[in-house]
Amino acid sequence: MDRTETDFEPTIVAMVCNWCTYTAADLAGTARMIQSPNVRLIRMMCTGMVDPKYVIKALLSGADAVLISGCHPGDCHYINGNYKARRRVKLLQEILPRFGIEQERLKLTWIGASDGNEFAATINELTKRIKELGPSAAKSTMVI
């Protein structure tokens, strides 16, 4: 990719829970809340099924950041899947620097089904933050 720092448009992969954040994304869409186009959603049934491998795979395949988002704590459709996600993300953030990836490139948030505006805000904010951070080094250094 021949992108320069100035016109850097990050690619962000979001793995979101079907019951909360995916619904919030739909709501943000229905309400026409303009969002930066850099985020691509992958629908999961629960953040608890997000295997750390998926995150690493995405980051090594060219994503500049990964967003994992699920139901608010205590509100999981599957009782406690989001707590499991929280634990995994925490551990994963410890490991990422060893791949040459900044911890900030993996973000975990809770966005409930009715939080359409929060979804749009999160997307815009994250895109802005990753733009500041610049392209992921993993893309150029790692060969998959």
């Binding site: 995916y22 619904t23 739909d26 608890g48 295997d51 395949s61 994503a63 459709h77 996600a85």
Partner: protein, 677 residues
């Protein structure tokens, strides 16, 4: 043999085509690996749209289908059924959302088109790894549980029992009836609330198909749609319901008086009490916290005076386990406590009442016997009614509580009717919202009765008099926004139309039943327009004000809708259970047992003989906790397998790495295919 994928890009009128260049997306898709056909069409969900898919599956021998249109939460089933009609397994279908997540939220046409292309590429990549799955059918237990016996719960229970199915009606309080039982009249017809609700309450108690469980709470819910097991905690009444005749002698003799919750604290009740003489069941309960016997060990006055020997201090809490097919939540609402709105002086000035307190003052069996009087026993000469207390207020509840305008008008009429035309009634409102059948007409009628309407939210209610006329009165300080002038209105009594809000323990109840709460903390429906009764949890429905503020007709119709949904399941007798459950590959599993501990549904057992973990598919709900962790990769969620997700990620990110234009790659690819052929 390679898959033959059909890709269909929907215009959705101009909803998608207005921002996304759908033709470009379809052309791009036609160049992707394994894509046999890619089309764009005005409305894919329409009959001709679905027919196109069916025809292509049959004629072109498609083995996979991708539709790029709206959210799969809206139309995934529609297209899965189209595949099914053409003889293709519905799980060989993938939908990607280029409307809600693309055309509606991206301003730039090129960016939106690019994102749509990436999403289509991901879907095409993923669908290659889909496997045929078969839903299983489960029997539905015919019984239904209704939680909460206010007017909504009562309506739902009666409707279900009328259809010939059994209902367990669980109510937390000692009597059924809910808030409606506290009212005197209902708007706009001025029906006597008791006259229309009491017969329904009695019908509930007499209907043999309704198992009425008052003074009970649901403690635990397990199982899945059609087969829920509910544990109900039955609190001890300390009164033997079979022996008690409801004569009321115990309550008469009980020496302990406390403020009555049913009378909103303005009336008194005894430590052994029932809500009102219309209570159903008409049997009292002993309130342990206030009963002298339970607190000090002696008294037993009620026991001595009971002619039928029904008092039983030895009763214990019991647990009841019930099997039901579906559950209707009708847990109702609370009203906002206006004490924190200190400028209104509730709790400080004795003549400031909440709406519900005023209902009790009006009620014939209330503390004043239905007479509108102040604490000194005299009728007020002037009354201020303050609208939107805690509603439409960003500091409390931003939403409109829907009922306050109308019950305020009802109070206006009742005051004029009961005390006399000379009474001055002032309404302080922001907007009058009289949206229902006969509501606007009622507004007009009340205006004609000589009620004063002041547009503006009061700033303060004070007893600090500035003129002799204000002496000994409450003064409502307000800006009349129509006149643009500050007013000081001296009145004898103030009624605060307090907001309807979710029950205090909604979060805990939501957790027990596995339903979500919306931004305003009411229970969240499945879809605001098309699924206002169902929740994201199959087989759990909502009725009445637990979903949002409602007046009586709305709550009743909502409840009838919920009853209908529950009946549809019970009458059909079976439900389709999604096959997207977990599967542990016995050849890979090393028997570490991590998944066993992670499973929130205890659906994974350990097979000691083979030393592997085994999934009980009847209990698995497909959350993927096991698959997300399994160190060996043995645990996989069907339809969300590692291969499928990896393919989806690659599909999303692959286009980034394309150095040569896609068309060239596709040409190379097709020539290669030709050579191979």
């Amino acid at each position: 043999m390679a898959n033959r994928i059909g890709v269909y890009v929907c215009h959705c009128g101009t909803n998608i085509a207005g921002k996304v260049d759908v033709e470009t997306v379809a052309t791009y898709a036609s160049g992707l690996k394994n894509v046999a056909v890619a089309r764009d069409y005005k409305f894919m969900c329409s009959d001709p749209g679905q027919e196109t898919i069916i025809r292509d599956i049959r004629k072109l021998g498609l083995t996979r289908v991708v539709v790029a249109s709206c959210s799969p939460r809206l139309h995934e089933k529609t297209f899965q059924n189209a595949c099914l009609r053409a003889g293709l397994n519905p799980f060989l279908f993938q939908m990607t959302c280029i409307r809600e997540h693309c055309s509606w939220v991206i301003e730039d046409r090129d960016e939106a088109t690019k994102k749509a292309e990436h999403l289509v590429a991901a879907a095409v990549n993923r669908v290659n790894h889909h496997q045929e799955l078969y839903s299983r059918k489960e029997k539905v237990h015919p019984d239904v549980m209704v939680v909460g016996a206010g007017i909504a719960g009562i309506q739902a229970a009666l409707d279900i029992s009328k259809a010939g199915f059994n209902v367990h009606l669980v109510e937390r309080g000692p009597s059924i009836g809910g808030h409606m039982a506290q009212f005197d009249k209902t708007f706009p017809t001025l029906d006597c609330a008791a006259c229309i609700s009491t017969p329904k309450m009695v019908a509930v108690s007499q209907e043999r198909r309704i198992n009425l469980l008052t003074y009970s709470e649901v403690e635990k819910v397990t199982g899945f749609v059609g087969n829920y097991t509910v544990t109900v905690k039955r609190k001890p009444r300390y009164v033997n319901e079979n022996l008690c005749t409801g004569c009321g002698l115990c309550m008469e003799k009980c020496p302990k008086k406390v403020p009555s919750e049913f009378d909103e604290g303005i009336g008194k009740r005894k430590a052994i009490y029932r809500n009102s003489p219309q209570s159903v069941p008409n049997k009292p309960v002993i309130d342990v916290e206030n009963c002298t016997f339970f607190r000090k060990g002696k008294c037993r006055v009620c026991e001595k005076n009971c002619p039928s020997g029904a008092i039983d201090f030895t009763q214990q809490e019991t647990e009841l386990v019930l099997d039901v097919g579906s559950i209707i939540l009708a847990t109702g609402f609370d009203t906002l406590d206006p004490t924190p709105l200190i400028t209104y002086g509730f709790g400080r000035y004795p003549e400031v009442y909440t709406g519900l307190q005023f209902e009790r003052i009006n009620n014939a069996v209330g503390p004043t016997g239905g007479k509108i009087v102040m604490k000194n026993g005299k009728a007020p000469d002037s009354v201020a009614i303050v609208h939107c207390v805690g509603s439409r207020d960003v500091n409390h509840h931003p939403y409109c509580s829907r009922v306050c305008c109308m019950y305020a008008l009802k109070y206006d009429h009742l005051i004029k009717d009961k005390i006399g035309h000379h009474v001055k009634v002032y309404n302080f409102y922001i907007d009058m919202r009289c949206f229902g059948k006969g509501y606007e007409e009622f507004y007009r009628r009340v205006q004609e009765e000589g009620v004063t309407f002041v547009r503006g939210r009061p700033a303060e209610i004070t007893d600090q008099a500035k003129t002799p006329q204000e002496e000994g009165k409450l003064v409502v300080v307000c800006e009349d926004t129509l006149l643009g002038r500050t007013l000081r209105v001296p009145v004898d009594m103030v009624v605060l139309c307090t907001a309807m809000e979710p029950r205090k323990d909604t979060a805990q109840v939501a957790r027990v039943f596995g339903v979500s709460q919306g931004t305003d903390k009411f229970f969240l429906e499945e879809h605001p327009k098309l699924g206002p009764v169902s929740t994201a949890t199959d087989g759990i429905f909502l009725a009445g004000a637990c979903q949002g503020p409602k007046d009586i007709p709305d709550a009743v119709s909502h409840a009838a809708g919920a009853a209908c949904q529950a009946l549809a399941m019970a009458a059909r007798g079976e439900v389709t259970i999604s096959p997207t459950t977990s599967w542990i590959n016995p050849d890979i599993c090393v028997g570490c047992r991590i998944c066993v501990g992670l499973c929130p549904y205890s659906a994974i057992e350990f097979d000691e003989r083979r030393h592997i973990a085994v999934v009980n598919e009847a209990m698995c709900k497909g959350c993927g906790s096991c698959a997300g962790y399994c160190p060996s990769g043995a645990a996989q969620i069907r339809h969300f397998t590692e291969k499928a997700v990896f393919a989806e990620i690659e599909g999303l990110l692959d286009p980034l790495h394309r150095i040569i234009p896609a068309a060239v790659v596709d040409d190379l690819w097709s020539s290669k295919m030709k050579q191979e052929a």
